[in-house]
């Protein structure tokens, strides 16, 4: 939960004044195939928010996003649509949310926090799974509601970075339904920045998950279809179909649309796709079949708009490829500030460029400065996320300033602890002789020593222990040795030390005086340490142990 809250608040946390978000440009480009457009609308009679439409159209007309042309061309279309909507969300979240809320009549009222939560949870899930950590969160949180997708670009960026599907072909995603979901989901927000074949599906999957939670059957169908598609089905129609539905659902999610707006989005997306595409794919897809054609159309239109010179073939695969190319071209041409990003191409993966393609989100300035700022902000938010994991008690913290406060406090407390411990070490055993006159315990020879470097610390510790306590040093040394050798970590060492201490070594006489004198002082310091609010029981436990020890 901490991540979601943190990430959900990062958008307002722009380190620099956020780029001014121009109002959505109602670029209702001429959409060929208007008849299909109307058909699609009639299939799902739901309210359409004009701003959303305009936003969608502008999304369509905006330079095509980097579409990873995967084996499944429809995925490209889906991805692009998702990206578009994601950009819409990012740029026009305010306007869109307002219009969504107004249009949200049939859907259950949804708090405005769920998609980020879902995304973040899935993101966490993905990250954890990708890192091999146990997934602690259930990606399909049943209580999620649709909400304006206040995307955290950094979050999406992180997701993309962690995505192992970057640039991979779609086929590689078969059988990994969960991961692609998350990875794709992350793509939604960072769609403009990165292309990810896997991510596309993930986005739609997430959307589908949310839709499922909303109890929409269609979403589930689409999801399964998507999974089926991932498993290798590559008929354009099926792909389009699934893709279209996914995309529409994903669009809803990404745009943070409420359930009611979902229909709107679908309609709009369909409209958008159908009109420009003008392809003959809708024939096999009667009711829901309009989606794929819509997707194809949108893809084509996007391709056309981004590069009129591009000839969008009727085949979506063909369109996907030029789209990917023109994405690269458009991004390179349109974005002055380019940095190397994860550009995954459907075609044979291009050689890694030495600069990042950053796609300008819709409604945001496309000059190099703002793009560079955005990338920088994303990097910063990504690192803040790591720090949030590291600093204890930062789960509920939202906001960069508060987070920085916590980090500063933590670093200061750690530094103070080091000073305190060095003081303690200084008085623990002033007579302790660290000389190398050690009596190596017999066990050291017997035990396995994988690396010779490990012997040294063992010897050193053993000498430290052996000098004041000749008789008892050996068992301690052996225990320490074994502990260190076995796992090369401090945990067994500590446990072994504890065990050895259990052997009732006689107290240090020399240290007793020093400790008694400074005992009260240390107790105060320890108390201050505790009060510093580490917020960790472990801190309290060992500091309280220090009390007992003195």
């Amino acid at each position: 939960m901490e991540k979601e809250r943190f990430c959900s608040t990062t958008p307002p946390l722009t380190w620099q004044s956020g780029n001014p978000l121009p109002p959505p440009e109602p670029e209702m480009t001429s959409l060929p195939g208007a008849d299909r457009f109307h058909n699609l609308n009639w299939d799902r009679p739901m309210d359409r928010s004009a701003p959303f439409e305009s936003a969608l159209s502008s999304l369509v007309s905006s330079p095509s996003s980097n579409l990873a042309t995967t084996a499944a061309s429809d995925s490209v279309v889906l991805h692009e649509l998702i990206c578009r909507l994601g950009s819409i969300c990012n740029s026009d979240e305010i306007s869109l949310t307002s219009c969504y809320q107004s249009a949200n009549t049939s859907c259950s009222s949804t708090p405005l926090n769920s998609p980020p939560k879902l995304n973040l949870s899935m993101m966490e899930h993905y990250q954890q799974s990708s890192r091999g950590l146990p997934v602690s969160r259930n990606p399909a949180m049943p209580t999620l509601h649709l909400a304006p997708f206040t995307t955290d670009p950094g979050f999406a960026e992180r997701a993309v970075r962690f995505s192992c599907f970057g640039g991979r072909s779609y086929g590689g995603l078969t059988g990994q339904f969960g991961l692609p979901e998350i990875g794709k989901m992350s793509r939604v927000s960072s769609s403009q920045s990165f292309m990810g074949s896997g991510c596309q599906m993930g986005i739609s999957d997430n959307g589908q998950e949310i839709a499922m939670q909303e109890g929409v059957q269609v979403e589930m169908e689409m999801r399964y279809r998507l999974g089926g598609r991932m498993s290798g089905s590559s008929t354009p129609d099926n792909g389009e179909f699934g893709g279209g539905q996914e995309e529409s659902s994903a669009d809803q999610i990404t745009a943070g649309g409420e359930t009611s707006s979902r229909g709107n989005k679908e309609n709009n997306a369909r409209k958008r796709k159908a009109a420009p595409k003008g392809k003959g794919k809708e024939a096999p897809l009667s009711s829901s079949g309009t989606n794929p054609s819509k997707i194809a159309e949108e893809e084509d239109s996007n391709a056309k708009r981004s590069k009129p010179a591009e000839t969008n073939g009727t085949d979506q695969d063909v369109a996907a490829k030029p789209k990917a190319e023109q994405n690269g071209g458009a991004s390179s041409g349109g974005d002055a500030g380019q940095k190397l990003g994860k550009e995954n191409n459907a075609k044979p993966p291009e050689p890694p460029k030495d600069y990042i393609h950053v796609r300008a989100r819709r409604g945001q300035a496309t000059d190099s400065h703002s793009l560079a700022e955005r990338v920088r902000r994303e990097k910063i938010s990504e690192r803040m996320k790591f720090l949030q994991d590291l600093v204890p008690g930062c789960n509920k913290v939202t906001g960069k300033a508060v987070m920085l406060d916590e980090i500063i406090n933590y670093v200061q407390s750690l530094q103070r602890q080091v000073e305190f411990l060095s003081m303690k070490l200084a008085t623990v055993n002033p007579q302790l002789d660290f000389s190398m006159e050690n009596l190596l315990p017999k066990d050291m020879h017997q035990a396995h020593r994988p690396l010779p470097t490990q012997v040294y610390p063992l010897e050193a510790i053993s000498t430290a222990f052996s000098c004041p306590h000749q008789p008892q040093g050996n068992p301690l040394q052996s225990v320490v040795t074994n502990g260190l050798e076995n796992q090369c970590s401090l945990n067994p060492l500590n446990s072994s030390l504890r065990r050895s201490l259990n052997m009732q070594l006689p107290p240090f006489d020399g240290s007793g005086d020093a400790t008694s004198q400074l005992g009260t002082f240390w107790e105060d310091d320890l108390q201050s340490f505790i009060q510093m609010g580490f917020g960790q029981s472990q801190e309290n436990s060992f500091s309280s142990q220090g009390f007992h020890g003195k």
Binding site: P12, W15, S17, R376, I380, R383, M384, F386, L387, L390, V391, G399, A401, L404, D405, I407, I408, V411, Q412, L414, V418, L421, S422, M423, K424, L425, A426, T427, N429, L432, D433, F434, S435, Q454, P457, A460, A464, F465, V480, S489, L490, N491, L493, N494, S495, L497, R498, R499, L501, Q504, L505, P507, S511, S537, Q538, S541, F542, Q545, H548, G549
Partner: protein, 194 residues
Amino acid sequence: MHASNSFTEIFLKHMLLGLQNGVASKNMSFLQRKRAIKLTADVAMAFAKDGAKWSHALIMNLSKKTENRTLLRSILGREYERLTKPCLSWKMPRAKKILQRSFKMHSRIKKGARQLRGVNAASVRAGAAVTRTKVLKRLVPGGEHLDDSSLLEETLDYVISLRAQVDLMHLLVKALDVPNPNLCNKGESGEFLF
């Protein structure tokens, strides 16, 4: 996140080496002793993490004082010369610093003019982050010359290493401390070892 095992091993090794050379069997006052131990710990930590900027900066800062140099030499051994040489790659040249300073002053002047129009929440938040970033730059060794994102990265690394240092010193204290049955009864061995 945890420090790697190799990190802790190198850390421990050098810490004990430094303790042997610098602290053991020497007549020092309590404060001197404490300072030597802290120095040892810091140097060992920085040396164990040789890839980070903060480690280099820490060693350089510590070597600036002459009284530390012998101890540093003993701990670092051959690496002493390499590590105490200022790394020009990550230190900004003076000209750039001057430019930055002038730019900051210029922006400050602009901000002063802007503030007349009123303060909005975003600017307040931005300002708070800026001041805290400055504080963090002072805390993290070598952080003054870093930009925000790399500063955060160094902070991350530094926090991990600090944690490992604290854990290790705790361990040493426990190992060398007055053995007490109270210390040994509970099994929180792994608790403070993150």
